[in-house]
Point group: C2
Chain length 214, copies 2
């Protein structure tokens, strides 16, 4: 397995060293640079060409959202950005999505969450569904700690999600796919879980916001 090159962007040096320690403990991860603000992050990214940028939202001078947007304008589309939000006052999340962020993490996430998030985002463009979308929607959606509930959908699940996002009911989906309603419900349960969505409405939102639809 090739090394995954990671750039850390956070205004707190302490946080950066902590992250560095966590990530460097993994053989497949290399921290290729650090930045204390958004402008530095873009500059460093241009220089070090990381695969992934762990991007704090709140940073002096140029914030993480803006930096994410700027990174997207680099030739080649720039690195994949995983946005790190401090807490749940994330009105950012929505903006970050539009800025091109590929993943989300709460700062208080566990070490494993960071590692897994980076690996997952690095693997594929199929990582479409940040769990944080839930909070994007439900102001209060407070739930289990801050892990990134990413997961790729199976073919069947994608199919079901597509039909959900066309407004079909469970019974209609069952008819459409020639399945039992119970089966459809199972798929939906998996989809909701993978998307971190509370209900089909939030799933539809995730589908649109992530580009799964369109």
């Amino acid at each position: 397995m090739t090394q995954i090159r990671v750039l850390l962007a956070d205004d707190e040096p302490l946080v950066r060293s902590g992250l560095r320690a966590i990530l460097e403990s993994e053989p497949d991860l290399t921290v290729v640079g650090e930045a204390g603000d958004g402008a530095a992050a873009v500059a460093e990214a241009r220089r070090t060409r990381p695969d992934i940028v762990l991007m704090d939202v709140r940073m002096p001078r140029v914030d993480g959202i803006t930096a994410t947007r700027l990174l997207g304008q680099l030739d080649g589309g720039g690195p994949a950005v995983v946005v790190v939000t401090t807490f749940e006052n994330d009105d950012y999340v929505y903006d970050a999505l539009q800025a091109g962020a590929r993943g989300f993490l709460l700062k208080r996430a566990a070490a494993d969450d960071y590692i897994n998030a980076i690996r997952t985002v690095h693997e594929g463009e199929s990582l479409l569904f940040p769990a944080a979308i839930r909070r994007l929607a439900g102001r209060h959606g407070g739930q289990r700690g801050g892990q990134l509930a990413e997961a790729r959908l199976t073919e069947r699940e994608s199919e079901v999600l597509r039909l959900i996002a066309r407004g079909l009911s469970n019974a209609e989906i069952a008819a459409e796919l020639v399945l039992g309603v119970e089966t459809v419900k199972t798929h939906i349960r998996n989809v909701l879980s993978k998307l971190g969505a509370r209900d089909r409405v939030q799933a539809v939102i995730a589908a649109y916001e992530s580009g799964f639809i369109r």
Copy 2:
């Protein structure tokens, strides 16, 4: 009130004359041209500069969807297109939306429906919600005849729809807007009705597809 300039695009001359008769009976509507296929429609639109194009879907050579898309590329964005679908086998509707159609009508709609549709579409960019979106989704959503259930949402209703489209539950919306849940339900009922949506999922879809969101 200024005249609304209408272009008719349908491959059946009979249909065109029928429409012309209906529309010309209204003092504020003028039929400025006719076209028998999509290519002719675009050409005529370029020449006559209509406000509205009544566009049949099924036409020889260049179909209505393609023509709609082409019209959108005219300088100034081109005229507003109201797509006329023959029946409920509208897999077209979805495509038409993406092609930039601003309204929908079933061919068997009443004369008044045509007139109202044109006026409404002409008035504002606020006409966002084609009733046909329902059928877009629910293969079977067969219901009352073919009128265009357009309607502009009130401010409160828009507000509610926006929150629905962020994934909030009724209770959460109530809390957010400092309202009773019953009130929220009332607004939602109105929204669903105006949008021709069966449930909040279809409402969200309509919100996205129509550009209400984003």
